[in-house]
């Protein structure tokens, strides 16, 4: 079998293979472009057209509805909390994972990926079972202390933080591995304190990785739906977020409103992706 493939090519065949190669390349190109156009670009553009049908009027209407404004504000507040928590945790745990040895490290780093593959509905259920006010493990105790978690903002922050947890870590860890420890060791030998080393050496080198992680987490957090739906209780004007507004409007036959809200959310997430792809340097120049 191998022998047949190893017959040297005769020079006379050289033109056809080149033509065939060009045709082949164009076929692949066409398949890929067609696939992405049908699956992503076209449907997305239809939502934009639907939302902007008749100008920006529909989007203007959204901002006139106090419940929608409340939902948007709540979405932003929850997302900012979740991103802040994940950034602090993510940077900290990345440094610990890369720079220190401790037992259980491999297990921890594997478990950190878990939130990426857990269903949002399961995330919501899991949080309710622990923090639920009626029958949760520690929910009733917290409620006695005056802290309501489930059906309130803290629960929504927890759900969102859970879902977006690995994003910062996955950006920061490879960069930390790349930069190595020489500079930090040099600084240490010159008498720099741990805080100085972090602020002057470690932080500048992972700065962009943190920025990407934060932008991606923000996109993910603003758009979380399933987990938030379970823990929020979805109360109009209280715990309803923007993604829940899309569902509610669509199911109540307000298609225009649903498309307008969806368009707003899509705009933010596409902007996040574009920002990251523009500021991220090409691999190798890092």
């Amino acid at each position: 079998m191998a022998e047949a493939h190893l017959t040297p090519r005769r020079p006379a065949d050289a033109v056809w293979p080149r033509l065939r190669r060009t045709a082949f390349r164009w076929t692949l190109r066409a398949i890929v472009v067609g696939y992405l156009f049908l699956l992503v670009a076209w449907p997305l553009s239809l939502v934009a057209r639907e939302a902007l049908d008749g100008g920006v009027g529909r989007i203007q209407e959204l901002f006139d509805d106090p419940d929608v404004v409340h939902a948007l504000r709540l979405t932003v507040v929850v997302a900012l909390w979740a991103v802040a928590l994940n950034t602090v945790f993510g940077v900290g745990i990345s440094i610990l994972l890369v720079r220190y040895r401790f037992p259980g490290k491999r297990l921890l780093s594997a478990l950190l990926d878990l939130p990426l593959s857990v269903s949002p509905v399961v995330v919501g259920l899991a949080l309710v079972l622990v923090y639920g006010g009626r029958s949760g493990w520690i929910g009733p105790t917290l409620e006695d202390a005056g802290i309501k978690v489930i059906f309130a903002t803290p629960g929504m922050v927890l759900a969102t933080a859970f879902v977006a947890l690995p994003l910062v870590i996955r950006e920061v860890v490879p960069v930390l591995e790349e930069v190595g420890v020489e500079q930090e060791q040099a600084a240490q030998s010159l008498g720099a304190s741990a805080l100085q080393r972090f602020r002057r050496i470690t932080l500048p080198s992972i700065k962009w990785a943190v920025v990407y992680g934060v932008v991606l987490s923000l996109a993910r957090s603003l758009g979380e739906f399933g987990a938030v739906k379970v823990v929020s209780g979805n109360v109009l004007g209280e715990t309803r977020t923007a993604t829940l507004v899309v569902e509610e409007k669509y199911l109540n036959f307000d298609k225009g409103g649903a498309y307008a809200t969806a368009f707003l959310l899509a705009l933010i997430s596409v902007a996040c992706i574009v920002v990251v792809s523009l500021i991220r340097p090409k691999e190798g120049s890092r």
């Binding site: 890929v32 939502v47 220190y100 269903s119 991606l216 569902e247």
Partner: protein, 281 residues
């Protein structure tokens, strides 16, 4: 390559880092706080799910899972996720190939398109698909409320995974080996099958595992798209949600445990694959 949103194939902790030190008191305290937060946020709640399912013994939990409607949902979810993963293995590899080996105007735009499903809110994704493939479709096919909707939703949300795991590996592949094989008369297919594919296999497998896990756990994009008809288009996560809404937390926990089991398996597979990729790299 600008692998933007899904650095999925890139392993956390690629190699044993040089100069990793023992814990100091400060870093030890930091680790303690981090692990405590991680436990409160992730580990404790997930164990609560498993324990709740086991509370009444495994018998009732098993009965919940094998009850007709739930079993149909699980079958649909797993089956469709497998089909979509198979499509992704082929299409994802193909897309990665075109992005790495070809150069043409507009490639940057394709990169952005691939990351959109990752960042787009899932409920918006459902609406997006509905606008082209729903009842108001300008081109005809109406997948709303039938099984094609599940296929389409899974296909959309899992798009980035295989592409983004294969792309960096393909970019770093040494092309001289391929050229050597070609100069010895190997056909393009032979070069691909015997030289390129073996080096890509771990990355493809990792991407497939991620895409399967994502498909199985998908919820948001199906809410508006599939109609959630029992025995027909109802998937597992929708089934769990309706149990929660009916205040049947034990039933929800039983089915959720099954999904968690799948997630865990995928995590283990990924960990093993990543180790294998490191050894090769």
């Amino acid at each position: 390559m600008t692998s933007v949103a899904v650095p999925a194939g890139r392993s956390v902790l690629r190699r044993r880092p040089a100069g990793a030190g023992a814990l100091t008191s400060v870093s030890g305290a930091g680790l303690g706080v981090a692990v405590l937060w991680f436990s409160l946020l992730v580990l404790l709640p997930l164990s609560a799910v498993v324990l709740r399912a086991a509370e009444g013994g495994w018998g009732p939990a098993w009965q919940t899972i094998t009850n007709g409607q739930t079993l149909a949902a699980v079958r649909l979810t797993v089956g469709m996720a497998l089909v979509v993963t198979a499509v992704n293995v082929v299409m994802g590899t193909l897309i990665a190939w075109v992005l790495v080996r070809d150069r043409f105007v507009g490639q940057r735009l394709l990169e952005v398109l691939i990351d959109i499903p990752f960042a787009l809110p899932t409920i918006v994704a459902g609406l997006v698909l509905l606008s082209l493939y729903g009842s108001d479709s300008p081109i005809g096919p109406d997948v709303a409320n039938n099984r094609w909707s599940v296929f389409l939703a899974y296909l959309f949300v899992t798009l980035p995974f295989v592409v983004r795991t294969v792309q960096p590996v393909l970019a770093e592949l040494d092309r001289e080996v391929e050229e050597a094989a070609a100069s010895l008369g190997a056909s393009r297919l032979t070069v691909f099958r015997r030289i390129v594919l073996p080096s890509l296999t771990p990355a493809i497998a990792a991407g497939a595992a991620l895409s399967f896990a994502r498909g199985v756990s998908e919820y948001g994009s199906l809410v508006l798209l599939s109609g959630n008809l029992p025995y027909k288009t109802e998937v597992t996560s929708v089934r769990i949600l309706s149990s929660i809404e009916n205040d049947n937390l034990a039933g929800a926990a039983a089915v959720a445990t099954l999904l968690l089991l799948i997630s865990f398996t995928v995590i283990v597979i990924l960990d093993l694959l990543q180790r294998r990729m490191v050894r090769r790299g």
